[in-house]
């Protein structure tokens, strides 16, 4: 099975302002992605945009996989206008997903903004463990996937920067309040997160303070997705590591901020 394949678009649907879910149906047999892994997608057959763009996996089924993306630039502007039936080239699944959750450990999932994509994938795969889910966004309009989470019986704790929904503040603030209330139980938890770098940074300090294992999915500009261009490095206690090949998931305690 080649990691380089063509996929036909089944659906490309706007779910909130500037946020879309793209459903792809690979034309050949592909490797099943794990939550936290990602695909590089070509949005054009021409030379501009030139490089493929990385998108983490949002949902996997037998025949399809879904990507949740936010329109932020030239490539995603083009992607949002793709129609059902259009065929695009994809490379993946790439990188390492979230580590397997140990028995007797309660997962705490934390998502900031469009960072909810890989955590929704993780939530679906571990829903039997009834994970706690903290969902944050700048405002109510940008809160994503609340209904999808409720459908799998997860009722997220919500935080918005402006207080327009849930708690006013960041998801890390919300988690901090929770951990403080339940400090006797924390050793049986493990944190899985994705969101802006500043959020992962705060989270790593918080997890360190409570001595909880924590993993974060990282994002960096990258060209190749396979560990060749060395564009997407993060600084860790073991030296520089590539987000695309050695990540995108890293233990937060290993990161040098």
């Amino acid at each position: 099975m080649s990691k380089l394949f063509l996929a036909s678009i089944k659906e490309n649907k706007e779910i909130a302002g500037s946020h879309y879910i793209l459903t792809l149906s690979p034309l050949t047999k592909t490797i099943k992605p794990q939550p936290g892994q990602f695909f590089m997608l070509s949005v054009s057959n021409g030379l501009d945009p030139l490089l493929k763009r990385p998108f983490s996996i949002f949902r996997v089924s037998e025949k399809h996989f879904q990507i949740l993306y936010r329109v932020v630039g030239k490539a995603t502007e083009i992607l949002k206008n793709k129609k059902a039936g259009d065929v695009i080239e994809a490379l993946g699944p790439l990188g390492n997903g979230f580590p397997r959750i140990k028995p007797n450990i309660k997962p705490i999932l934390i998502a900031g903004g469009v960072g909810v994509a890989p955590l929704f994938a993780l939530a679906e795969s571990v829903k039997y463990k009834k994970p706690l889910f903290f969902l944050g966004a700048r405002n109510k309009k940008e809160l994503l996937c609340i209904n999808e989470l409720r459908k799998i019986r997860i009722n997220p704790v919500i935080a918005t920067d402006d207080g327009s929904a849930g708690l006013k503040g960041t998801v890390v603030d919300a988690l901090s309040a929770f951990l403080t209330r339940h400090s006797s139980l924390v050793t049986r938890h493990c944190i899985y997160a994705c969101g802006p770098k500043a959020m992962l940074r705060e989270l790593s300090f918080l997890a360190g303070k409570f001595n909880i294992e924590a993993y974060g999915a990282f994002e960096e500009n990258m060209a190749c997705g396979v560990g060749a261009c060395l564009g997407c490095m993060v600084n860790t206690k073991d030296g520089l590591r590539s987000v695309c090949k050695e990540g995108p998931v890293f233990p937060l305690g290993e990161i040098l901020w």
């Binding site: 501009d48 030139l50 060209a223």
Partner: protein, 307 residues
């Protein structure tokens, strides 16, 4: 129908390649990153990411930003060092029937010579490509690839340090590349790689900050192809040593264009990032072109431009 098998082999001085398709340093890792996509046995040569005597950390991120039909990079020559390469990466490459070209650099003339000496003692390395042209190094270093006197000095020192075929990778960030080509040839280079990336810059107009942490970076991709073709042609007319052409090769047509301008072989760079099988598609395309045009030897393309 009788089909004559076309001859794809080319010579880069003493280095004999089964076909003219190579990888460009820094875009193909140490070979293993792409082994799942490309049969490395089918490549003319694998050129590995630039190495130095000691490991190097490179620049802060963001290191990459896309620009119209191109990309800027400021990796900063991050690498694992020669020792780790020989121990951990070279054994893998030795398993393949291809030529291994090791790209390397130093921070002083002595370091260049020492690096070349270390690499020359290893079996499985078929040629050296000397990087004097990274645009992301400090001002003093840039002189290696932009001041012909310094170029002559450093290439001469490396020439004395290695019996391996020596390829010198030239910078396009000069007024007259012909002078640089001549300096490298006079100092004993066996071949020239033309061109490295072109220094560029890109600014986020909302934050008013450069997109790259390093502020400037090296431009590669189709955006630089006409500049590269012109420089290959200029070097071809000036120097009497073979040229490896590179700079924005995406398709077989691009590769053929470089050969017509004077390149004896081509190196595929940024295209690997877009399509991990790009080298194989280019090789197939060259063969198809030759068959269609009735060309039985790829060497007939070299310098074939009529002007």
């Amino acid at each position: 129908m009788v089909r004559l098998k076309s001859n794809l082999s080319v010579n880069i001085g003493k280095l004999k390649l089964k076909n003219p398709v190579m990888t460009a340093s820094g875009t193909f890792g140490y070979g293993e990153e792409y082994a799942g996509f490309v049969d490395l046995n089918k490549l003319g040569a694998v050129v590995v990411k630039g190495l130095s005597l000691n490991p190097s950390r490179g620049n802060p991120t963001p290191r990459i930003v896309e620009t119209p039909s191109g990309m800027l990079n400021a990796i900063g020559l991050q690498n694992i060092g020669i020792k780790a390469f020989i121990k951990d990466k070279l054994p893998f490459l030795k398993k393949y029937d291809t030529k291994v070209v090791v790209n390397f650099f130093g921070n002083a003339v002595k370091e260049y010579a020492e690096a070349a000496r270390r690499l020359s003692g290893e079996s499985g390395i078929h040629a050296l490509e000397m990087n004097i042209s990274c645009p992301n190094k400090q001002a003093g270093w840039i002189a290696f690839g932009t001041d012909p006197k310094v170029t002559f000095k450093v290439v001469s020192a490396v020439r004395k340090a290695t019996p391996l075929p020596l390829i010198v990778k030239l910078s396009p960030n000069v007024t007259d590349i012909k002078i640089m080509a001549k300096a490298a040839e006079d100092a004993g280079a066996d071949a020239l790689s033309v061109i490295n990336t072109i220094t560029g810059m890109s600014i986020n107009i909302k934050t008013r900050r450069p997109h790259l942490a390093n502020i400037t970076g090296g431009l590669s991709g189709p955006a630089i192809k006409p500049v590269a073709v012109r420089m290959v042609w200029e070097c071809y007319k000036t120097a009497s040593i073979p040229i490896i052409g590179m700079g924005g090769i995406i398709t077989a047509d691009d590769a053929i264009e470089f050969m017509l301008a004077g390149a004896a072989a081509v190196a595929v760079g940024t295209a690997n990032f877009i399509n991990p099988k790009a080298t194989m598609d280019i090789l197939k395309g060259i063969t198809a072109f030759m068959s269609k045009e009735g060309i039985n030897d790829v060497k007939r393309l070299i310098g074939g431009v009529e002007c």
